[in-house]
């Protein structure tokens, strides 16, 4: 089967903050293949290169080395064509604060030259009662759901979610997971980054674990646990992805 996203040896270099003349690789030769209808998770600590990897796929960041092909289109060569196919929820995006949700959704529709039914979009993410509200008046969970609604206006084939549940309370998190599952069941390919082990284990069909700009392991959650998680001596369960993460990176989350 042909992958819908194919990244080969992606590299992104930035100048070192302490010495601008030298560069370091924020993403250092990352390769993966993601298939249609998958939920693919990129798991890693802050600064591992997850967001940069996503931004290169989304055409938001120049690719310094390697290649990315999405639905047969080379991202570096034709980012505009790729942008029409994908929906993106950025890690911390804000919106024009003087527009209400309906106006914002219609604006995003216009960016794709689509006339959209804003109320229907809001209904999908359960925000119809907030139609006239401004983004600043939404709770964290509502804001993330609204971000997803904005990412859906062009009916994308692939949805990118960058740390969608960071900072959300358990209920809001759960609600967002349900939404992601629902979109995936409807046929959407979903790529998400997270540093939440539980989230990766619950949502993702396959997980890539990133550290220091490289993928250190990639498989289904169950197989990763089989392979890497040490057997807990007394406990009946095998441990979880968090153990995998610690075993592979040798450290806890860098926050």
């Amino acid at each position: 089967m042909e992958p819908i996203i194919h990244a080969v040896d992606l590299v992104k270099r930035y100048p070192l903050p302490e010495d601008k003349s030298r560069k370091f690789a924020a993403v250092d030769g990352v390769s993966f293949a993601i298939f249609e209808r998958e939920i693919y998770g990129i798991l890693g600590p802050n600064g591992a290169g997850k967001t940069t990897t996503l931004e290169m796929l989304e055409g938001l960041n120049d690719i310094d080395g390697g290649s990315a092909v999405i639905a047969g289109i080379d991202v570096a060569r034709d980012p505009y064509k790729v942008k029409k196919l994908i929906g993106v929820q950025l890690q911390a995006s804000e919106y024009f604060e003087k527009l209400n949700l309906i106006e914002l959704l219609k604006l995003f529709g216009a960016l794709y030259s689509r006339d959209i039914d804003a109320m229907e979009m809001l209904a999908k993410v359960d925000l119809t009662e907030k139609a006239k509200a401004r983004p600043a008046n939404l709770s964290g969970g509502q804001k993330q759901r609204f971000s997803i609604a904005c990412a859906l206006v062009n009916v994308p084939r692939i949805l990118f979610l960058d740390e969608p549940t960071t900072g959300l309370d358990p209920q809001a998190k759960r609600r967002l997971w349900d939404l992601v599952m629902e979109l995936n069941r409807a046929g959407m390919t979903i790529v998400l980054t997270t540093h939440n082990m539980e989230e990766a284990e619950f949502l993702c069909g396959r997980i890539a674990i990133m550290d220091h700009g490289r993928i250190v392991a990639e498989d289904t959650p169950a197989k990763l646990i089989d392979q890497y998680a040490p057997e807990p001596p007394a406990a009946p369960l095998k441990g979880n992805i968090e153990d995998v993460f610690l075993a592979l990176t040798g450290h806890a989350l860098r926050d």
Binding site: K83, F96, L107, S113, N154
Partner: protein
């Protein structure tokens, strides 16, 4: 003109700008206050307090004092020299005219000596007042000698000009405000949108930079036109400033000016990384132009060294174009050189803006 997407975006930007009540208020409040201050300081001629100490009871002295009293340029207070001198030092009088006891007796063929006391550190209108007083003395002298006035016609000509300094100033002030509103408007927006990640979110869609720039320029133009109309209405109706030329043509030049400065604002917004730096960089662009572009006084009056630079500044073309229409009644055809200058700056500004425009994160 604008594509469907550009229109939609421009409409949304208009909404965003218009819903920002506070900044709308201040963008109108300051120019109006500014204009008013100029109107009061420059337009209303404050009479000058003038003390007259006359020890002479001659008819000529009486005639001179009478003529000073009748002149609206002065508030005459009479008194003794010592007393008035104290008032002058205390700042209650600006000038004291002393007519000695023998005034206007001519002793030894010399002219009668009237003395004018002034504190030149406090009073800077001496070069203006001196000829006024001399003229009054001359008029009396002519009457005494029975001579016909030689220059009265010329004097009347100067007074016949109905235009005030404010008429001269208004087009320059409006041009200057257009510049500030436009440069700050587009530049501030770009930095603000980028800082909040809004630009990044917009450009992860297939939006092209040119559509974004066109829409924001169109929306800002609309806003600037509203601001211009308010200022102009205030100047024409409240301050009674005169505009001789065609108002529609005046507006056309103003729209062109705003477009020039909006593109320059985009450049500034692309260079500036933070809200603080946009203020600093904006001022580097704005202030030299306010000083050098003939807003307050003609460029000819400036040092020869800076004149070549002053002649080619964008604001110079705008000010001269708007002023020619407003106070000389010029038509668009007659201000083609200014229009060409503005056109060149628009092309430069747009090319730079399109080249430098960054929607990606700029490391602060």
């Amino acid at each position: 003109m604008l594509s469907k997407l550009q229109r939609h975006l421009a409409k949304d930007f208009m909404k965003i700008f218009l819903r920002d009540r506070q900044s709308i208020f201040f963008s109108l409040f300051f120019p109006v206050v500014f204009l008013s201050i100029f109107a009061f300081v420059r337009g209303g001629q404050e009479p000058i307090p003038l003390g007259v100490a006359s020890e002479s009871d001659s008819a000529v002295a009486g005639q001179l004092i009478q003529s000073l009293r009748e002149d609206p340029a002065f508030v005459v207070v009479t008194g003794g020299e010592a007393e008035l001198r104290e008032q002058l030092i205390a700042g209650e009088q600006m000038l004291v005219l002393v007519l000695p006891a023998d005034f206007p007796a001519v002793d030894g063929g010399g002219a009668a000596r009237a003395r004018l006391l002034a504190d030149t550190s406090q009073f800077n209108q001496l070069p203006l007042v001196e000829p006024m007083l001399e003229k009054k003395l001359m008029v009396i002298e002519r009457q005494q000698r029975g001579e016909a006035p030689m220059f009265s016609l010329e004097v009347e000509n100067v007074q016949a000009l109905s235009q005030s300094y404010l008429d001269f100033l208004l087009p320059g002030l409006l041009a200057m405000m257009l510049m500030q509103l436009s440069v700050a408007g587009s530049g501030y927006n770009v930095v603000e949108f980028r800082r909040k990640g809004i630009l990044k979110r917009l450009f992860v869609t297939p939006l092209r930079p040119r559509d974004f720039v066109a829409a924001i320029v169109a929306a800002r133009l609309g806003i600037v036109l509203i601001q211009l109309t308010v200022m102009l209405a205030f100047a024409l109706l409240v301050l009674r400033v005169n505009i001789i030329g065609n108002l529609a043509e005046f507006y056309l030049v103003a729209i062109g000016a705003s477009a020039v400065f909006l593109t320059i604002g985009f450049c500034v917004g692309s260079i500036a990384k933070t809200q603080q730096s946009i203020m600093a960089i904006g001022n580097i662009v704005i202030f030299p132009q306010i000083v050098l572009s003939g807003v307050f006084y003609p460029i000819d009056a400036m040092p020869a060294l800076v004149q070549p630079l002053a002649q080619v500044l964008p604001l110079t073309f705008v000010v001269s174009g708007m002023r020619d229409i407003a106070i000389a009644g010029a038509s668009l055809l007659e201000i083609v050189p200014s229009l060409i200058g503005m056109g060149v700056w628009f092309v430069i500004g747009f090319a730079l803006a399109a080249r430098m425009f960054v929607w990606k994160d700029v490391a602060a």
